[in-house]
């Protein structure tokens, strides 16, 4: 059942209805040297074979539509089918990105209102929807900060400060923007170490990048103090919005003192993750950063909505994609926002937080160790399985794999790195107490197993289409594409 589509192929087989009918069209006046001589090795299968192959492949995945997926920092919540349907309306799917304003008022009005909604929930002054994922949103934000400093002739600021528990995209983004990364410590309660911050701040500081609540699953209580310190040092504050689900409509990054931020609409606004994307990572910013925002953005004029581009925003960091980012994802997010409404936004944060705290309490009662037992959980929290590893030899990885056998996707493991053997657990607001209790039960059972039959856990998973995979082999003997056995390479 795990044949590749290539292994199901046979020369000459084809999904014939999918080609243009009639004779093969001629190629006109294209010189021989520009023509392909050997056709590429591609699948050769009938339509039904393709449908069956990929339908069956899909059945080997866990997904939100089939499983509870408490993946910390990833906000795997229900992706409303209505939003998918809205974005799939023929009028939206068929619109060319360069269609003139006369053929664009529908989509532009949606995007304009989405900009408004995002500005409102973030407490920011402006929004550009252009970035295509969180990391590109970070890039946009940091590039805007760079543009800001440079525009003021403040050219010495070449450092970006990042706490050690930051997501990998934060330091990677800073580097892409040409900055040096300065990592600072986090204290035992999960807050930024203020002394370390003081030590790091200075005339070279361009920005501090922060998630709040952080990936430790706790709210940074000193945020205003931190903001003041950074601003006093002449730096700006970047907010990594990946965890916005925790505080949506409850606390606004703009009010915390942040200058610019991204949102992961594929997290907070429930657009589907798609097995790794596409997402959308709008940037929201305070007034003084407006001139630098990425293009295009929708503006409202007398004659209707239109795109503003480099001509309107000469200081813009520019366009980050060929057109308008992942427009189809933005439409899904807009549909979601319309359904939630203003009351619904706040409820997201409330119930995401309730679920996380409840689950933390239940796991603690079951004997698990919380990484930050004295703190409220935000929408997520950390359990460390270090005691279990020590006593039974069963690691967080083993727990993770064994959970799959119980029909639960594993939480985020080994991130953030500062907590050993950690599980970062985020139930999200769309799961019910029943699923949460079920997960806690499974965790208890596995813990029991760790003591009584550790091998059962260490060799897990047992019920998935494949057993535990050899990652070392994968990296050592690189096999990145299929080559038929009878082909000499």
């Amino acid at each position: 059942m795990s044949e590749l589509i290539f292994e199901r192929s046979k020369p000459g087989r084809q999904a014939r209805a999918q080609r243009p009918g009639g004779e093969e069209a001629p190629l006109h006046q294209i010189p021989e040297g520009f023509l392909r001589q050997t056709p590429p090795a591609m699948p050769e299968a009938s339509e039904m074979q393709v449908v069956r192959h990929y339908t069956n492949l899909s059945r080997k995945n866990f997904s939100i539509d089939t499983h509870f997926y408490p993946l910390g920092s990833c906000t795997m919540k229900y992706n409303p089918r209505g939003a998918h349907k809205a974005a799939s309306l023929p009028g939206f799917l068929q619109r060319h990105p360069l269609a003139p304003p006369s053929r664009s008022q529908g989509v532009l009005s949606c995007l304009y209102h989405l900009q408004e909604i995002i500005a409102d929930v973030t407490g920011m002054d402006g929004v550009s929807l252009a970035p295509m994922a969180g990391a590109q949103g970070e890039y946009a934000g940091i590039a805007m900060i760079r543009g800001y400093h440079l525009s003021r002739g403040d050219t010495g600021r070449n450092e970006v400060i990042v706490p050690v528990n930051a997501h990998g995209t934060n330091p990677a983004t800073a580097t892409m923007c040409g900055f040096k990364v300065v990592e600072i410590a986090v204290n035992k309660d999960g807050d930024v170490d203020l002394d370390a911050l003081d030590a790091a701040l200075g005339p070279k500081t361009a920005a501090l990048m922060l998630t709040n609540p952080s990936t430790c699953g706790v709210f940074e209580r000193n945020i205003r103090e931190i903001a003041d310190k950074v601003h006093a040092a002449g730096g700006l504050l970047y907010y990594d919005g990946a965890n916005l689900n925790a505080i949506l409509g409850k606390v606004r990054p703009g009010d915390m003192g942040f200058d610019v931020m991204h949102l992961n609409l594929h997290k907070t606004f429930a657009t589907p993750h798609g097995g790794g994307g596409p997402g959308a990572g709008p940037v929201a910013f305070v007034e003084r950063l407006r001139p630098f925002q990425p293009t295009p953005v929708v503006v409202k004029a007398e004659a209707g909505y239109r795109w503003a581009d480099k001509r309107d925003l000469p200081d813009s960091i520019g366009n980050l994609s060929a057109f308008m980012g992942n427009a189809g994802i933005l439409l899904r997010a807009y549909a979601y926002a319309l359904m939630l409404g203003r009351e619904g936004m706040v409820r997201v944060a409330e119930y995401a937080t309730l679920n996380a705290n409840y689950m933390a309490v239940k796991l603690k009662e079951a004997g698990f160790r919380l990484a930050y037992p004295n703190r409220r959980a935000s929408h997520e929290f950390i359990v460390t399985l270090a005691p279990e590893l020590k006593e039974t030899g069963v690691s967080a990885m083993d727990f993770a794999k064994r959970l799959l056998d119980f029909g639960f996707h594993a939480p985020t493991t080994y991130f953030p790195l500062l907590v050993p053997e950690c599980f970062l657990i985020e139930p999200t607001e769309t799961e019910s107490i029943d699923e949460i209790d079920g997960f806690v039960e499974a965790m208890k059972t596995i813990r029991e197993e760790a003591f009584t039959q550790p091998d059962r856990v260490k060799t897990a998973p047992h019920t998935t289409p494949v057993q535990r995979l050899d990652d070392v082999k994968a990296a050592r003997e690189l096999n990145l594409k299929y080559v038929p056995a009878d082909t000499a390479i």
């Binding site: 084809q14 999904a15 999918q18 080609r19 069209a25 001629p26 190629l27 010189p31 591609m42 699948p43 393709v50 899909s58 080997k60 990833c74 919540k77 229900y78 992706n79 939206f92 068929q94 619109r95 060319h96 360069l98 269609a99 006369s102 529908g106 009005s109 929930v121 994922a133 590109q136 990998g168 990677a172 983004t173 580097t175 945020i223 606390v251 993750h273 798609g274 790794g276 994307g277 980050l320 994609s321 057109f323 980012g325 427009a327 319309l338 009351e343 997201v348 409330e350 679920n355 705290n357 289409p465 057993q467 995979l469 050899d470 082999k473 994968a474 990296a475 990145l480 594409k481 299929y482």
Partner: protein, 455 residues
């Protein structure tokens, strides 16, 4: 409460378990002065029905014209099976396949995708996708820079025949790393890039040359000779191609003596709807020797404990979640579902189907172009060797011409005047396999009417 399953009883039980009197108390670590007031610009919540009525009205507004726009996104037929399967919950609502054993569907599919894309480009290895064609080109530039460590001051030769939106995105994405992007002049007669212009731009040398094929104007650059020239100068060659065209035209792996080094482009023509510009995906393929410089996820084949074949993320040490500030890119979420659709699309069409579509596009474009010949005030610059786009110059302001055709429900082309003042009044016209003979005839007739003043 839309999408929240809690009953009142559940809430109370959970509050009690947490030892709080109300949910609000769970937020007690947050300083009061930070708490938000009521949202003012978010409207009241709508039912799914009301939301769909609103969105439907918006979507309807933008319908109704026949599209001859290209310039990086083209209307192609997408087999119905493609999105029926890609939109299955198991593909659409899965996360990045970090837990390999629970993600074999996505992982095997990407491995198949990598194979298809590498084969289509006649090159060694593919990654699992980047955001879009423009950002993929920027990543290719950064990758070329990383691969040419001996060079100190990096200069990239960027012909003006590269999509102008790609050029500006590259600038936006690589400039902070102090890489110079050198524009190479356009030969306005041939609408291609001449060797002379390249030599002039190269000066002392460059890190890499970007070669678009077909180029922005639908024309065919002399990729064979220019690839060899660039290699002789010690540059890497970054091929920027339309993947559909590669089923019929010479693929990057076969350019010149040794082939291009990196190939990128946008996957949109392979199963992605126009959708106002996205989601599409950027593909990237390269020589084996460059694989450790590649950005983005890569899937490898391996075995499980019982020796059974399986697939997993590999070479993760290149990525931000492991390497952080030293990663090959900051990319994390990519365009997985778009790749899923594209993989199914390519499987349904196969090599022959793709080539047939490519040829039909070409033939339709050719036919339309031929039929415009001789319309008063219209000229058709450049050589006749083209893929499925071409430039039309007019002796009236092109903006007026486009508006007049728009009024006849024809989106006739992309106005080139702002991006290419050197071409005068000009527009870029694209034709794909989806355009019927009747639509081509209607275009010709309408343009004739407009140009010959009977509009």
């Amino acid at each position: 409460m839309p999408f929240i399953p809690h009953t009142d009883e559940d809430r109370q039980l959970m509050e009690a378990a947490c030892g709080v009197a109300s949910i609000e108390e769970l937020f007690d670590e947050i300083p009061d002065n930070l708490k938000a007031g009521e949202l003012t610009r978010v409207p009241e919540g709508l039912s799914e029905m009301a939301m769909l009525q609103k969105m439907q009205a918006a979507a309807e507004q933008d319908r109704g014209a026949v599209c001859f726009l290209g310039g990086g996104a083209w209307e192609h037929h997408i087999p119905s099976a493609v999105w029926d399967i890609a939109a299955r919950g198991e593909f659409m609502t899965a996360y990045t396949p970090y837990q390999a054993e629970a993600s074999q569907g996505t992982l095997q599919l990407i491995y198949e995708y990598q194979t298809m894309m590498a084969n289509l480009m006649a090159m060694d290895v593919s990654n699992a996708s980047l955001y879009d064609g423009a950002s993929a080109l920027a990543e290719a530039v950064l990758m070329a820079v990383r691969s040419q460590r001996r060079i100190k001051d990096h200069r990239i030769l960027m012909p003006r025949t590269v999509n102008p939106r790609y050029r500006s995105a590259v600038r936006a994405l690589v400039e902070p790393q102090e890489i110079e992007v050198v524009e190479v002049a356009l030969d306005t007669d041939s609408l291609t890039t001449s060797r002379q212009a390249l030599e002039a731009a190269a000066g002392e040398g460059a890190t890499a040359l970007v070669l678009p094929f077909p180029n922005y104007f639908g024309k065919l650059e002399d990729v064979q000779a220019l690839t060899d020239w660039a290699h002789e100068q010690g540059m890497l060659v970054i091929a920027l191609v339309n993947p559909l065209a590669m089923s019929a035209l010479v693929p990057p792996g076969e350019w010149g003596e040794t082939g291009a080094d990196i190939a990128v482009g946008d996957g949109q023509p392979l199963g992605l709807p126009l959708s106002s510009g996205g989601p599409y995906y950027g593909f990237m393929v390269c020589r084996q020797s460059l694989v450790r410089q590649m950005p983005g996820r890569i899937i490898g084949q391996t075995v499980d404990g019982e020796g059974k074949r399986g697939f997993t993320l590999t070479l993760q040490a290149r990525e931000q979640h492991i390497r952080r500030g030293k990663a090959t890119s900051n990319i994390c979420t990519n365009q997985g579902l778009a790749v899923t659709a594209s993989t199914i699309h390519m499987s349904l069409l196969g090599a022959e189907g793709l080539a047939r579509v490519a040829r039909q596009c070409h033939h339709n474009a050719w036919s339309l172009r031929e039929s415009l010949r001789g319309i008063q005030g219209v000229s058709l610059p450049g050589s006749d060797a083209m893929f499925h786009e071409f430039v039309v110059q007019t002796d009236k302001p092109v903006a007026d011409v486009l508006a007049a055709l728009d009024a006849r429900d024809i989106l006739a082309g992309i106005d080139l005047t702002a991006d290419y003042p050197e071409l005068g009044q000009a527009m870029l016209v694209a034709v794909t396999e989806t355009r019927t003979p009747e639509q081509l005839a209607a275009y010709t007739e309408a343009l004739k009417a407009v140009m010959e003043g009977q509009a």
